[in-house]
């Protein structure tokens, strides 16, 4: 069984589709399960009790959780000086705190089974220090830092933790970003092309697979930095 947050749209939806296609039982966590095409559990990742309740529901299913994929996130591309307080709070609460809540509250399931893989989502904006994404990048830098240390805490239990850091991939999160801005970001990648959702799905498959058993505590920047 694989759990995916933010499964109702964008990258989360693409990942659930890919995993479902290959025959995995995928459970989506979303604030509303109405928009999910798959089995779902209502969960607001930014709310500790909501995540705790979801973890309890998953535990009750009684099946091993092979992977937990933290895709749920929000973006806001603004200079720090023009970002209002509520946006700052929302970015940190959903992207960073939400990831931490999901990892800490679902970890006992994997600790018990003594295997599993957490896949958290960062952004290439962290490594490239992209102008206009300071608060968003800060929230995701927190995810990377958390994941590195969390990986060490989980290692003795054969549980791996890694991050995927996509570049500009066409999803709702990129609303309002112009083609010129995207080109500018891509020009800073090692591989200067715009990658697709399917490239992210390929990496997810790799990180779930036992063939990546040597990888933990790593951030995979799509396109390279």
């Amino acid at each position: 069984m694989i759990i995916v947050t933010g499964a109702s749209r964008g990258l989360g939806k693409a990942i659930t589709e890919r995993l479902t296609e290959r025959g995995e039982r995928v459970i989506g966590l979303a604030r509303s399960t109405d928009a999910l095409d798959i089995e779902g559990i209502e969960c607001d990742v930014s709310n500790y009790l909501s995540v705790k309740k979801a973890a309890r529901s998953v535990k009750k299913i009684g099946e091993p959780v092979e992977a937990f994929i933290n895709v749920a996130g929000v973006a806001s591309m603004n200079m720090a000086v023009t970002t209002d307080e509520s946006t700052v709070q929302k970015l940190i609460q959903t992207n960073l705190v939400g990831t931490i809540y999901c990892c800490q509250l679902f970890a006992p399931i994997m600790l018990r089974q003594k295997y599993g893989s957490f896949i958290n989502f960062s952004t290439i904006a962290v490594a490239l220090a992209l102008k206009g994404e300071s608060v968003y990048a800060a929230s995701k830098a927190g995810v990377e830092a958390f994941s590195r240390t969390f990986a060490r805490e989980m290692a003795d239990f054969n549980v791996r933790v890694n991050c995927i850091a996509p570049g500009p991939i066409r999803t709702d999160l990129l609303r309002g970003i112009t083609d010129a801005q995207i080109e500018k970001i891509i020009s800073q990648q090692v591989i200067q092309k715009q990658f697709k959702k399917s490239d992210v799905c390929d990496l997810v498959e790799l990180l779930i697979d036992n063939r990546s058993s040597s990888l933990s505590g790593q951030t995979l920047n799509i396109g390279g930095v």
């Binding site: 705790k52 800490q104 006992p108």
Partner: protein, 94 residues
């Protein structure tokens, strides 16, 4: 669950966790579970919590070892065998 039963359960679980130790230690009420004096490393402590979770299930309640109520007291429930047993008994009655 009364405190005596909770203590018995906690002491049994901790004794099992410490079985691999070369120097066998007697598990007492005052034994520290965290900090420099603890014989349990972090991995063993997690295993103790998971075992207590299972035993709580058998006794018909949920043992929440991550709860704010349990962790935010002036001192952690893991400060000693006695405090962990007390928390375990309290959660059984909640």
């Amino acid at each position: 669950m009364n405190i005596e039963l909770a203590e018995e359960i906690v002491i049994t679980v901790i004794s099992e966790a410490l079985e691999d130790l070369e120097d066998k230690a007697e598990v007492s009420d005052e034994m520290q579970l965290i900090g420099g004096e603890s014989l349990l490393d972090s991995m063993k402590l997690v295993e103790v919590c998971l075992a207590l979770e299972d035993l709580a299930d058998e006794h018909g309640f949920e043992f929440d070892w991550t709860s704010e109520a349990a962790m935010s007291k002036s001192r952690s429930m893991f400060r000693s065998v006695a405090s962990l047993a007390e928390e375990f008994a309290n959660q059984s009655r909640a």
